[in-house]
C-alpha cells in the first residue's frame, strides 16, 4: 500500500510538472465550449465567411439541446481519443526506452502497484478532463439551446466515463506491451477503427464496449435497452480488468527490456 502511494506520488509529480494535468483538461473544455458555440452561431459564421448573394437563406437545422451535447461527445470520440492516446502512449514504454525505468525495476516493487499507480493518475486526468468538458458543454447548451435534465446528463456522463476508463486501460496496457509507436498505433486501432467497424457491422450484436458511447447518448433522449446496456457495461468492466491484468503481466515481462 505504502509503495503504491510512493509510486502514485511520482506519477502525480510527473503529470503536474509536464503540465498534462493542465493542458489535457483545457483541450476537453475547449471542445465543450466550441461545440455549442459554433452550433449556435453557425448562421452568422456562414454569413461572415461565405460570399452569399444578398437575401439567400439557408434552411438552418434546428439543434435540440441533446444533439449539441451529443455533438460534443462526437468531438471527444475522435479528437479527444487522439489526445488521450498521444498524451499517454509512452507512460510505460518510454520508461523502458530511455532507461529511467531501470532504477525503479531494480527496487523491490510489485508490478501491480507500478501499473496501478499509472492507471490511477492517467484515469483521474482523463475523467477529470472529460467531466469538466462535458459540464461546460452542458452549461453552454442550457444557456444557448435549452435545458437538459440533470439526471439525463449525469446518466450520460457516467456511462461515458466507463468508456473513458476502457480507453485509458487500453492505452496503458499497450504501452506496457509494446514500444511507444506500436502502443499508439494499436491503441488507435482498438479505439477508433474498431469503433467504426462496430458501427458498420454492429447491427448483428448489441453487447460491446464500443457501443457504450451510443448507449450513453441514448440517456439524453430516453433510455437505452436495459439488458443491452447493463451487459455492455459488465463486459466492458471485465475487459478493463482483463486488460489491467495483461498490463501488469507485460510490465513485468518487459522490465528486462529496459535500457541498462
Amino acid at each position: 500500500m505504502r509503495e503504491l502511494v510512493v509510486l502514485f506520488q511520482k506519477e502525480w509529480r510527473e503529470n503536474t510538472r509536464n503540465f498534462k494535468i493542465l493542458w489535457v483538461p483545457l483541450v476537453f473544455i475547449f471542445f465543450g465550449l466550441s461545440e455549442p458555440l459554433t452550433s449556435y452561431y453557425l448562421p452568422q459564421i456562414l454569413d461572415a465567411v461565405g460570399n452569399m448573394p444578398e437575401g439567400t437563406t439557408f434552411p438552418m437545422p434546428e439543434f435540440t439541446p441533446a444533439q449539441v451535447i451529443m455533438a460534443t461527445m462526437g468531438q471527444y470520440q475522435f479528437i479527444g481519443m487522439l489526445v488521450l492516446v498521444l498524451a499517454f502512449m509512452g507512460t510505460i514504454s518510454r520508461e523502458r526506452k530511455n532507461g529511467t525505468g531501470t532504477l525503479i525495476y531494480v527496487r523491490p516493487i510489485s508490478y501491480l502497484n507500478y501499473f496501478l499507480s499509472k492507471w490511477k493518475v492517467v484515469g483521474m486526468i482523463a475523467l477529470m478532463s472529460v467531466w469538466l468538458g462535458l459540464l461546460t458543454s452542458w452549461y453552454y447548451t442550457g444557456l444557448l439551446f435549452g435545458k437538459v435534465e440533470a439526471s439525463d446528463f449525469f446518466a450520460f456522463a457516467g456511462t461515458y466515463s466507463v468508456w473513458i476508463l476502457f480507453v485509458v486501460t487500453i492505452v496503458l496496457a499497450m504501452s506496457a506491451w509494446l514500444p511507444t509507436g506500436g502502443a499508439a498505433g494499436l491503441s488507435l486501432l482498438l479505439i477508433l477503427i474498431v469503433q467504426i467497424v462496430d458501427s458498420l457491422l454492429g447491427t448483428y450484436w448489441t453487447i460491446s464496449p464500443w457501443k457504450i458511447s451510443t448507449y450513453a447518448t441514448q440517456w439524453l433522449t430516453g433510455s437505452p435497452d436495459s439488458g443491452d446496456f447493463w451487459w455492455s457495461i459488465a463486459i466492458t468492466i471485465l475487459a478493463i480488468i482483463a486488460l489491467m491484468i495483461f498490463g501488469v503481466w507485460m510490465s513485468k515481462r518487459n522490465a528486462s527490456k529496459t535500457k541498462v
Partner: protein
C-alpha cells in the same frame, strides 16, 4: 567467511547466442569482487541477472543460501548509464528510491540527504536531475544504490565514463563503502580493479575463464623475468650470445625469462659484471594485471 551470494551455472541465451554461459561463482560477505573482461563478454548481462532485471535462461542465484529469493530487496544497483526522471530533484529521487526499498518516510528523507552529501551532491539537493552533468549523474546513481544500506552493491562500470579526477573520487567513495557492503563491480579499467579487489572474475565470450584472488591469478599467469638495459644495441646482442641462458633482444634491451627460479638475480648480476658491457639497468619484472588480462582474454 559467509557466502552472501551464489551464482550456480548461470546462463542467458538470446536466440542462438549464449551471452552468459554456465557461470558459477560465490561472493563472500564483505568482499569486493571485480568482474573484468573485454566489451561484449557478458558483464552487464551477468549483473542484470543478479540485479533481478533479467531472468536467467538456466541456472540459479541464491542469496544468503535462499534460492530464487527476490534479490532486489537486498541489493543496490548502479547501471552503467543511470537515467533519472529529469523533472525530479536529486533529493526527491533519492528519497523515492529509499522509500521504494522499504524505508519509512522520515528515515528516507534523512538518509537521502546524508547520502547525497556523502557522494558530494550536497549543493545540488534541490536541483532537477535534468540539469545534471555526467559526473553528477554517476554520483546520484551511486547515492540511490546505497541510500537504503543494501548488503550487496552491484555496480556496472562505475567509473569508466568519468574523467580521471571524478574516477579517483568515486573510487575513494567505493573504498570507504567496502567495510559495510559486499561489492561486485564490472570494469574494463584494470588499474581500478587492481586497487580494490579481493576476488577477480574474468569473463570472456560469456564464460568465466578465470577466477580467484588477485594473488592467485597473478601467481598463475605471472612469468617473472629480468630485463636488462644496455647502453648500445650491440652490447645487448653480444650479451645474448655469451650468456649461459636464453636472452631475447629488443633494441638495447635483453629479456631473460625465469624457469623454476633459475637464474637468480645474483646469477644475472654476476654474469653482467663479468661481461664488462655497458649495463644501464637491470630489473626483475612481474606481470601486471593488464598483461594477465591480455593473456586470459587471448586464450584460445
Amino acid at each position: 567467511m559467509t557466502i552472501i551470494l551464489e551464482a550456480d551455472h548461470l546462463t542467458k541465451i538470446y536466440g542462438s547466442e549464449r551471452a552468459v554461459n554456465e557461470v558459477t561463482f560465490a561472493l563472500g560477505e564483505g568482499t569486493s569482487t571485480a568482474l573484468i573482461g573485454p566489451n561484449g563478454a557478458g558483464k552487464t548481462t551477468t549483473l542484470s541477472m543478479l540485479g533481478g532485471l533479467l531472468e536467467p535462461t538456466t541456472g540459479t542465484i541464491s542469496l544468503n543460501g535462499e534460492k530464487r529469493a527476490d534479490v532486489r530487496k537486498h541489493i543496490g544497483f548502479l547501471p552503467q548509464y543511470p537515467q533519472f526522471f529529469s523533472w525530479l530533484t536529486a533529493l526527491e529521487f533519492t528519497e523515492m528510491a529509499a522509500k521504494l526499498s522499504g524505508m519509512d518516510a522520515r528515515s528516507a528523507k534523512l538518509e537521502a540527504q546524508k547520502t547525497l552529501e556523502f557522494v558530494g551532491l550536497g549543493d545540488a539537493l534541490r536541483k532537477k536531475t535534468g540539469t545534471f552533468s555526467g559526473g553528477m549523474k554517476q554520483r546520484l546513481g551511486l547515492a540511490q544504490a546505497i541510500v537504503h544500506k543494501p548488503k550487496l552493491l552491484l555496480l556496472d562500470e562505475p567509473v569508466s565514463a568519468l574523467d580521471p579526477v571524478g574516477r579517483r573520487e568515486i573510487m575513494n567513495l567505493l573504498k570507504s563503502l567496502q567495510q559495510d557492503m559486499t561489492i561486485l563491480y564490472s570494469t574494463h579499467i584494470l588499474n581500478d580493479a587492481e586497487e580494490m579487489t579481493d576476488q577477480l572474475l574474468f569473463l570472456r565470450k560469456g564464460q568465466l575463464v578465470e577466477q580467484g584472488s588477485i594473488g592467485d591469478v597473478r601467481a598463475k599467469y605471472d612469468q617473472p623475468r629480468y630485463r636488462v638495459e644496455f647502453g648500445r644495441a650491440e652490447d645487448a646482442i653480444i650479451y645474448s650470445e655469451r650468456a649461459p641462458w636464453n636472452v631475447q633482444v629488443e633494441g638495447a634491451c635483453g629479456t631473460i625469462h625465469l624457469a623454476q627460479g633459475f637464474p637468480t638475480m645474483a646469477d644475472v648480476l654476476k654474469s653482467l659484471a663479468e661481461s664488462g658491457l655497458d649495463v644501464r639497468k637491470a630489473e626483475r619484472q612481474t606481470a601486471n594485471l593488464e598483461e594477465i588480462f591480455m593473456k586470459v582474454a587471448g586464450q584460445a
